[in-house]
């Protein structure tokens, strides 16, 4: 009895949260087109995001490229198919591994950062202070950050993809003596519009999710320093989960279009 009421309580909490987040999202889209546009703040947030996460994205991208190639090589060699390496690595990185790994890294870096920043602004009453001065904190703080994340994530993913491919090329160059030109010619030959386009669209949604969840968690942070930690933490957890859900949906949708 106790257990079941506990579960129903969790379900209720979960549904309430989903409802609140949906409302938050709709408010974002509504305020997005209201004047004034905070261009300066938007640029500052874009810069912050790029500055904070580009090194991380480059390092993880590079390592993923190296590891992927090193691990696949022996298997391909067994089948005498090493020459397929660039196409295979290219497709898997551009379609799936690059976007999802970059997004996960950014969820940890950007999502938690936004959650903690807005959370501490909430706790120290800075958001309240904006509100009583007749300013619109949602517009100034939330819309700029979500928009910045949405715009920056595709760029970061492209950087991550490029570095990963470069890492893969280095392995091929050392182990198989493949030239730069040859490697990348093969990569781009293998890639089609239907690989690149859905993958790029997907990354916008990844960015949107990272920004929205981070802002939502921070904006409605509970009182106390504990609350700030929890906001940052749950921003990362919820975002990571959402990234996989978005990824899954994106693959489903792409698949439907393929069949058409």
């Amino acid at each position: 009895m106790v257990k079941s009421s506990n579960i129903s309580l969790h379900v209720k909490d979960f549904l309430m949260e989903v409802g609140d987040m949906t409302y938050f999202t709709s408010r974002f889209f509504k305020e997005l087109f209201n004047k004034p546009f905070e261009f300066k703040e938007l640029l500052r947030q874009c810069y912050n995001i790029g500055n904070r996460s580009s090194l991380l994205v480059v390092i993880t991208g590079f390592i993923i490229g190296l590891v992927l190639t090193l691990q696949t090589r022996p298997t391909l060699m067994e089948f005498g198919a090493v020459s397929w390496m660039p196409s295979m690595v290219g497709i898997s990185i551009v379609r799936e591994i690059g976007p999802i790994i970059t997004a996960l890294v950014c969820a940890g870096r950007i999502g938690s950062g936004i959650g903690a920043e807005l959370g501490s602004m909430r706790v120290t009453e800075q958001i309240d202070a904006m509100e009583v001065s007749g300013a619109n904190p949602f517009k100034y703080l939330v819309v700029t950050r979500v928009l910045a994340a949405t715009l920056m994530l595709p760029i970061l993913v492209i950087v991550g993809d490029a570095v990963a491919l470069f890492g893969s090329y280095l392995v091929e160059n050392v182990k198989g003596n493949v030239s730069f030109m040859l490697y990348f010619n093969q990569v781009f030959d293998a890639l089609e519009f239907s690989d690149i386009f859905p993958a790029t669209i997907k990354t916008f949604f990844f960015g949107l999710a990272i920004g929205l969840v981070g802002c939502y968690k921070g904006y409605f942070c509970n009182k106390g320093t504990e609350g700030v930690g929890m906001a940052a933490n749950s921003a990362v957890v919820v975002t990571s989960l959402m990234l996989f859900i978005i990824d899954f949906v994106a693959v489903l949708v792409t698949d439907i279009f393929y069949d058409l």
């Binding site: 920043e117 120290t124 009453e125 202070a129 509100e131 009583v132 001065s133 007749g134 300013a135 619109n136």
Partner: protein, 255 residues
């Protein structure tokens, strides 16, 4: 409700009637009443945790009251939409207990921030810059203009926050413990500044404080918030000579 609106006195700028607010089982306000007249300094005293901050947050719509009537300059704030509320808020200055400076901005940007939305009232960049300098001079912190809030002491933060509140030239100012945690000299300076502002612009002030000295100097009238209601109302002299033990407890330094 309508009838009550009609008997509202014209020179009341802020009125609270039968305000209730609870957090779960924690009944904080249980029918609080208060009136603030044009040009007066009304001091609200109450023990820590008695709901003073909650009450003023309800006043400006930062918190929603469970029930009760709140009117700010003859507007029932519970019935206002978001835009009208924002317009009304421009006439109200609010000094937060914890200063609430924007810690990603310099002192200058902090002071300019509230003006960005009201360029009609405050004019262009040069005029705003002039107002910023003026406000900083008022609180004696011109030198801090380029500093970040993290580089300021607690007392400096409070004074900058005060400057940020005053720069909007509000008609009503709500001070949440303006002098707590300050040394007696700085506290006195702040009180003098509050008086100066009140005289200069004929603002009406709602002042929350524990500081009996501050209350004695500045209060035209006082309200004691005890057990969630307006337990006693009167001038400083009236209340400090009261026989009621609950009221007396606030003034025991006096005896």
């Amino acid at each position: 409700m309508m009838e009550q609106n009609h008997i509202e006195e014209p020179n009341v700028v802020l009125e609270v009637r039968d305000l209730h607010k609870s957090f779960g089982d924690n009944y904080v306000l249980n029918g609080f009443n208060m009136q603030l007249y044009q040009g007066e300094n009304l001091v609200i005293m109450g023990k820590s945790g008695s709901g003073k901050s909650v009450m003023i947050k309800c006043l400006v719509g930062l918190m929603e009251a469970d029930s009760g009537f709140i009117s700010v300059m003859h507007n029932d704030i519970t019935k206002l939409d978001h835009e009208s509320l924002d317009i009304l808020r421009r006439e109200i200055g609010f000094l937060f207990q914890g200063s609430a400076l924007y810690d990603s901005m310099t002192v200058r940007e902090n002071l300019k921030f509230p003006m960005r939305w009201h360029t009609k009232k405050f004019g262009g960049e040069e005029n705003q810059e002039k107002l910023v300098m003026e406000a900083l001079e008022n609180v004696g912190l011109e030198k801090a203009i380029e500093l970040m809030p993290s580089e300021l002491s607690g007392g400096m933060k409070r004074r900058i926050a005060l400057a940020r509140t005053l720069i909007m030239q509000p008609k009503i100012i709500i001070y949440d413990e303006p002098t707590s945690g300050l040394d007696p000299i700085t506290a006195k300076e702040i009180v003098i500044l509050m008086q100066k502002v009140q005289k200069q612009y004929n603002t009406s002030s709602l002042i929350i404080t524990h500081d009996v000295d501050c209350a004695r100097v500045i209060a035209d009238r006082m309200v004691l918030l005890i057990d969630g209601v307006d337990y006693a109302v009167g001038t400083f002299a009236e209340l400090s000579s009261s026989k009621d033990p609950k009221v007396k407890a606030f003034f025991k330094e006096e005896v």
